[in-house]
């Protein structure tokens, strides 16, 4: 299976040993994507529980969680000194650390790796901030290509309704206030989410994202997710990889 993330620049591997890393991978990588409050974290949590109960070795990795980089990201956000370029780079650094220390070793060890948000989040957000498309895609060209990338799609109004009524305060970068689409944080959030969603939609075909209708009930969505995971990851004998 071709394990290189960017179809166009296969020879542009970041590190000489990247190819061998990719080929040695024996586990499976499943990622969830979508705009804020699309329900993806709930779904991956339920998938995680199910895989464990079925006896699989599961490793979970979350966006923006590298202990090495966290302090810097936090500082940058707090002081509001991150530009679209440094915002993009610091998240790529976080992703690189998790790829090197968590995702790749876990895959080589044969685990099923679940990731809450992946490189697609960076593509969507960074491009919504006006960062050049080819630049950010080159940045992430070292990423391992997922076996399944679920995209939880909810109409913009649903997401806005959920987030604007559900939570008191929107955060500065989350609302895209740094690029100044509007002085009003709620209005800015709407415009920014709209852009992000358009980017996600445009990636469905390009990267073969598996779209899940996020307006369905939690149970319906989860049933579909489990069905697809079973189907796509089953080997000749119908066993998922990573089973202990």
């Amino acid at each position: 299976m071709n394990r290189v993330f960017m179809p166009g620049i296969q020879r542009c591997n970041l590190y000489n040993n990247q190819q061998s890393l990719q080929n040695n991978k024996s586990g499976s990588l499943i990622v969830v994507e979508g705009i804020d409050v699309s329900g993806k974290s709930t779904q991956i949590h339920l998938l995680h529980r199910w895989l464990l109960s079925e006896g699989y070795g599961v490793f979970f990795s979350e966006w923006n969680s590298s202990p090495l980089v966290k302090g810097t990201t936090k500082l940058g956000k707090k002081r509001k000194v991150l530009t679209p370029t440094t915002f993009s780079l610091i998240h790529a650094t976080d992703f690189a650390d998790r790829t090197e220390h968590q995702i790749t070793p876990a895959l080589k060890a044969g685990a099923t790796v679940l990731a809450d948000r992946y490189a697609y989040t960076a593509f969507a957000r960074d491009m919504a901030r006006g960062v050049p498309r080819n630049w950010v895609r080159n940045l992430y060209s070292f990423a391992v290509k997922p076996d399944i990338a679920f995209y939880f799609r909810v109409p913009l109004e649903v997401s806005l309704d959920r987030i604007l009524t559900g939570r008191a305060a929107l955060k500065y970068y989350e609302a895209g206030m740094d690029i100044g689409l509007s002085d009003d944080i709620r209005e800015c959030f709407k415009l920014f989410q709209q852009r992000i969603m358009a980017e996600y939609d445009s990636m469905v075909d390009e990267y073969g994202l598996t779209v899940i209708d996020g307006t369905k009930s939690i149970e319906e969505q989860q049933a579909e997710v489990r069905r697809i995971v079973k189907e796509r990851l089953s080997l000749g004998d119908g066993v998922l990889s990573g089973r202990r």
Binding site: C12, N13, L14, Y15, N16, N17, S66, L68, V69, G71, T72, L75, G76, V81, L82, T83, P84, T85, T86, L89, I90, A92, T93, A96, D97, T99, E100, H101, G130, P132, N134, W135, N138, L139, S141, F142
Partner: protein, 239 residues
Amino acid sequence: MEGDSLLAKFRFYGEGLKDVNLDSLSGRLIVLEGPDSVGRSTQMCLLREWLESLGHAVSDTGLTRSELTQEGLDQAKSGHTLGRKTMSLFYATDFADRLENQIIPALRAGYYVLSDRYFYSICARDIVRGADPQWLEGVYGFALVPDMVLYLKTDVEDLVPRALYGKGFNYWESGMDLAAGEDFFDSFCVYQSRVIKELNLMSERYGFVNINASNEPSVIFNDLKEAIKPILTNGVVDY
């Protein structure tokens, strides 16, 4: 000052930063490159004094001095847990922060920006650690093309005594993470010669002005001044 506006036209290596109006950058960007321990900081001080004596406002900046990443990078490097891709991207973040928050504002204000190294050194170190040069060139597409890159060129034989009697051999400058030699000395020689080889390649690729760094500091300083003179704007006093 007609010639000035012609000289002041900056450009980016790649697609660049979309919010930066290049026409508004009226300063000069001069980079001093060279391996560790080659004597860059001494020359930086001399150049700063000289430019100020001519009436130019000078801003200086060096690697890993970004407010955003200083602490995180120091911490990461002290733990030796920094993976190679992570290191590449952490340094790129640092460079971008310095470019956007220090260098570009200073250029906008008409300063002479003296940069103690630029992304070339970072790339040389990354390439020695196995990074793909093509990937790195893409990553640094947001960088401004400097007015001039002065390269303090030397070989590893010349560096050894400078490092030894200067700060001593340190872990990263000796490339100890690469396990290239038995001890700090062996590793330093192997690692620094590889870095120098990469810098020499970049010198040709990016058109650095090579300055022989095996000379006495005063000779080097004179060579640097001679190299810079053609791009100087009119100062308050004649040089």
